[in-house]
Symmetry: C2
Subunit: 206 residues, 2 copies
């Protein structure tokens, strides 16, 4: 299923040999205008559906628009100017929303909602990559305006605005953005992230 | 790399054909006592490292113990009684911790920390699955006691306690837990999760 024609512009440089799907994933700003196949979108959101969640609350909700429709325009209108410079090239825009109240314990907050929404987004993103598609998550948008535009209930918290599409040509980007599209990917070393005994003491399997 | 000998006790029943890796993932309670190879753990945490995060803050931290060491015992001591019934069969226990202060904007909260930790946990979980290993995340533990036991700074929030290991035999479980180990996996239908125009209006690609 994976699109073998994709040229991997920005592959990770891992210290340990992780799955190619994870190494290849990144967040492009240049998208190809080509429409995303309906069947691929079904599988992408199906992957989110099978993510784990605390008490199986499944606190993930999504609102999705296709370029040219009203939902897309509404989501686009909430983006900060920087993101509007590039996100309009993507054929799909969607909001990732956390349901912050518990369904199983009425009246209680679901404290895992954000964490579990993040997990669902990761499953969705890796299924997209498996389909040869890229997801770019944005925090730079007006979350309250987005909630208003879609008349969301008070317990629906908009967390990210996201693009889905095929990778485009970096040369099509605004001049201010071209450099970011090809710069090296950077991460903290594992020994600053995984500890034993106490924070700061690298785990002994590293 | 994927362990083809694993018997998939509890595979998902998806409506759309998602990646086998995602369909096979679940959260067992019966673990085989077999130790987890160091190289596999390296790759599993390396996968978390390459997860995306808001402004590349990488707010994920982990504290990991092996059965028999002090870190493992400390983590185990924070679990609620229900989780103590089964989690001790896993060879590895670790805490997933969100750094809630921003490194890039000192003094500011990183509002994406929980969401991004969730993403990193998903990458880690799928890399584990790729290695033939299972992760079970727990919310049922004393997060404040865990923070105390490891003297965490105030901006390190313990979110989940987790097991990693090879799948075990459900028959080894406490009688109260056996049924859960083989019951069908359930999820809300996609048309209750993915909308267009407004919440409640299923997206038109479904």
């Amino acid at each position: 299923m994976q699109n073998t024609e994709t040229k991997h512009i920005k592959i990770a440089n891992p210290d340990h040999a992780i799955m190619p799907l994870i190494a290849q994933r990144w967040s492009p700003r240049a998208f190809d205008g080509r429409q995303v196949e309906k069947e691929k979108l079904q599988r992408i959101f199906e992957a989110a559906r099978w993510s784990p969640s605390s008490s199986n609350e499944q606190p993930w909700r999504f609102i999705l628009g296709f370029k040219g429709d009203e939902t897309y325009e509404k989501i686009f209108s909430t983006l900060v100017e920087f993101n509007q410079l590039w996100a309009g090239s993507a054929p799909v825009l969607f909001l990732a929303i956390a349901k912050t109240s518990s369904a199983k314990s009425p009246g209680k907050e679901n404290k895992s909602a954000l964490y579990d929404l993040g997990q669902a987004m990761a499953y969705l993103t890796l299924q997209a990559m498996h389909e040869g598609l890229y997801v770019h998550q944005m925090g730079g948008f007006d979350t309250l305006k987005a909630a208003e535009l879609f008349a969301l209930p008070h317990d629906f918290k908009v967390v990210t605005a996201n693009t889905i599409g095929y990778q485009g040509n970096p040369e099509t980007l605004h001049p201010n953005l071209k450099g970011m599209e090809t710069s090296a990917r950077e991460r903290k070393p594992l020994n600053e992230l995984v500890f034993s005994e106490t924070i700061g003491q690298p785990a002994n399997f590293l």
